[in-house]
């Protein structure tokens, strides 16, 4: 065998060296633990120009409400040190438009979708669930946005109450009978209680963290930099907060945790997995590093190879305290 043939052989062997990246988040099975966060990825159409978005563990859609939402007035975004403040206000085309227009496109691309839903009251969540019935077998899960800091009605105001969380999760789960993920906020004090409520309602997992409430002021005009005054902070600035929340919730073993908040590199993603996240969400990084999704998947594989670990599940929650 020549050197060339030999090296080719080694190359093939290395690639066949099954490194398992697949994870189970309760009953949700993903080929890898990399999920794109709600509101940061569209439906794969835009990012499909940079890489094959079907390779991602899953893509969470923006949050859909029953009727189209205009969203908040501009300015809606503001950069802060290593962070991004936003007050988009859940602008969306409404669930009907998603089902008719965006869903077929995502399906055509082979994207594993987690559909994010947002309701301003219990009835809206139920009505949304009924609408989703027709596509429920073609999506991975439902994520309930119970924690948007940018809408006055609904969102955090009404759905941060544990009793409400339980009711909402239960009603959606009852109608759709597919896995339901509850997205919770770092802004509420009763995170554990909220997670217990979600579990009692039948949730499969908890997504944390949504953005952290923040603001910025223009000292020349004396005006807030966001028209909505306050917004949600994301990006590297919130990573340590997110990590601590993920750790504190995951160790309670109430439900599997999907960890997110400021993940910008494979190293960041690994920190979350080691701290106890069963999967990771990539959000704001998509705006800066357009190919971050595949970069992290490749990076996880490389890391495991380097550490001679065959299964990603071997590192999840292995934090040594």
């Amino acid at each position: 065998m020549t050197d060339k043939q030999n090296s080719l052989f080694v190359f093939i062997e290395e690639n066949n060296n099954d490194i398992n990246l697949s994870v189970n988040i309760g009953k949700i099975h993903l080929e890898n633990p990399v999920i794109m966060c709600s509101g940061t990825f569209g439906y794969g159409e835009e990012y499909g120009q940079f890489y094959n978005t079907a390779l991602l563990g899953a893509v969470t859609t923006k949050s859909y409400s029953l009727k189209p939402e205009k969203g908040n007035p501009p300015p809606r975004i503001c950069e802060t040190p290593a962070g991004l403040l936003n007050s988009i206000g859940l602008q969306n085309d409404g669930i009907d438009c998603f089902i008719k227009k965006h869903f077929p496109e995502a399906e055509r691309r082979g994207i594993k979708l987690i559909l994010s839903l947002f309701g301003s009251d219990m009835d809206e969540f139920s009505e949304l669930a009924y609408k989703v019935s027709e596509i429920k077998d073609k999506i991975v899960a439902i994520e309930l946005n119970l924690s948007c800091p940018n809408v006055k009605e609904g969102g955090i105001a009404f759905s941060s109450v544990p009793a409400d969380i339980k009711k909402i999760v239960r009603s959606v789960k009852r109608i759709l009978k597919i896995p339901v993920i509850a997205k919770l906020s770092p802004n509420q004090h009763n995170l554990i209680e909220a997670a217990v409520a979600a579990e009692k309602g039948g949730a499969e997992a908890i997504s944390i963290i949504n953005t952290v409430v923040g603001m910025s002021v223009d000292i020349e005009t004396f005006k807030p930099r966001l028209a909505n005054v306050t917004g949600g902070l994301s990006g590297p600035a919130i990573k340590p907060i997110a990590l601590a929340k993920v750790y504190s919730l995951a160790k309670e073993k109430i439900l599997p945790v999907i960890g997110m908040g400021g993940i910008f590199s494979v190293e960041d993603a690994l920190e979350f997995l080691i701290a106890g996240a069963s999967a990771v969400g990539i959000g704001t990084a998509n705006f800066i590093k357009y190919d971050i999704g595949v970069t992290i998947i490749d990076g996880l594989r490389e890391y495991l190879k380097r550490r001679k670990i065959h299964d990603i599940n071997e590192i999840i929650g292995r934090l040594e305290v």
């Binding site: 509101g39 940061t40 990825f41 569209g42 835009e46 990012y47 120009q49 940079f50 923006k62 205009k70 969203g71 007035p73 501009p74 300015p75 809606r76 975004i77 503001c78 950069e79 040190p81 290593a82 962070g83 991004l84 936003n86 988009i88 602008q91 990006g235 590297p236 910008f264 590199s265 704001t284 998509n286 705006f287 800066i288 357009y290 190919d291």
Partner: protein, 264 residues
Amino acid sequence: MKLLNGEIISNERYSEYLYKMVIFSPYICREARPGQFVNIRCAPEGIYDPLLRRPFSIFDIEEKFNVFSILYSVKGRGTEFMSHLEKGDLIDFIGPLGNYIDLAGTKNNVLLIGGGIGIAPLYLLAKQAVVMKKNVFFAAGFKDKSYQKWEDDLIELKIDYTIYTEDGSIGSKGMICDYIRSNIKLFNGYDVYCCGPKEMLKTIQNIYTKSSNRVSVLLEEKMACGVGVCNGCVVKVKHVKGEFRYKRICKDGPTFDIREVIFD
């Protein structure tokens, strides 16, 4: 659009805060058209402060040399970072983004109204119009003489133009909008494209309220993704039945019919 790394060919200082950066990119030269922009990373790899990319209109394309350029004014940390880049450095950008302006089938007379850095996207449009043998008039307004060197670029296009500065340091003294208002009849039958500060655009919208000219406006806003997913860079536009809605400048624009825009 592609995620690219281009070599900086030059980063010339036009005046205290104004720079022209020339970047090597056969792809952008081939694909980009007037009105489009690039989204530039303004921090070294692995550094996330400043965090967001910055959008810049494509100012010029020189196909012969496979280079394109952007004109930028140093206003914050992102542009400050860019101003320190040198010839031979690589710059990380994505483009071309946004919808281009198609001059095919438009009127033969084109009026371009640029205020401050708003002249940047109009320059490439002027160049394109000249290639298409259209009659172009460029009306530019500035605060002071900081754009004096840009006049040399404009002269190369061999088009008619006028420059107004608030302090009279170059061109005529006064506001460019006053010039347009006083000479509106001169430009009857022109297609108008404008870009500049919001107050200027509002005035132009008022000037052209009752005219039949087609008036397009190129808008800018703080942007996050640049590709249409985040809904961060929206503008209020008229909708049916007296309603309004928000459109994304990056994906639905950056060029809009000035009559549909609601300037608050």
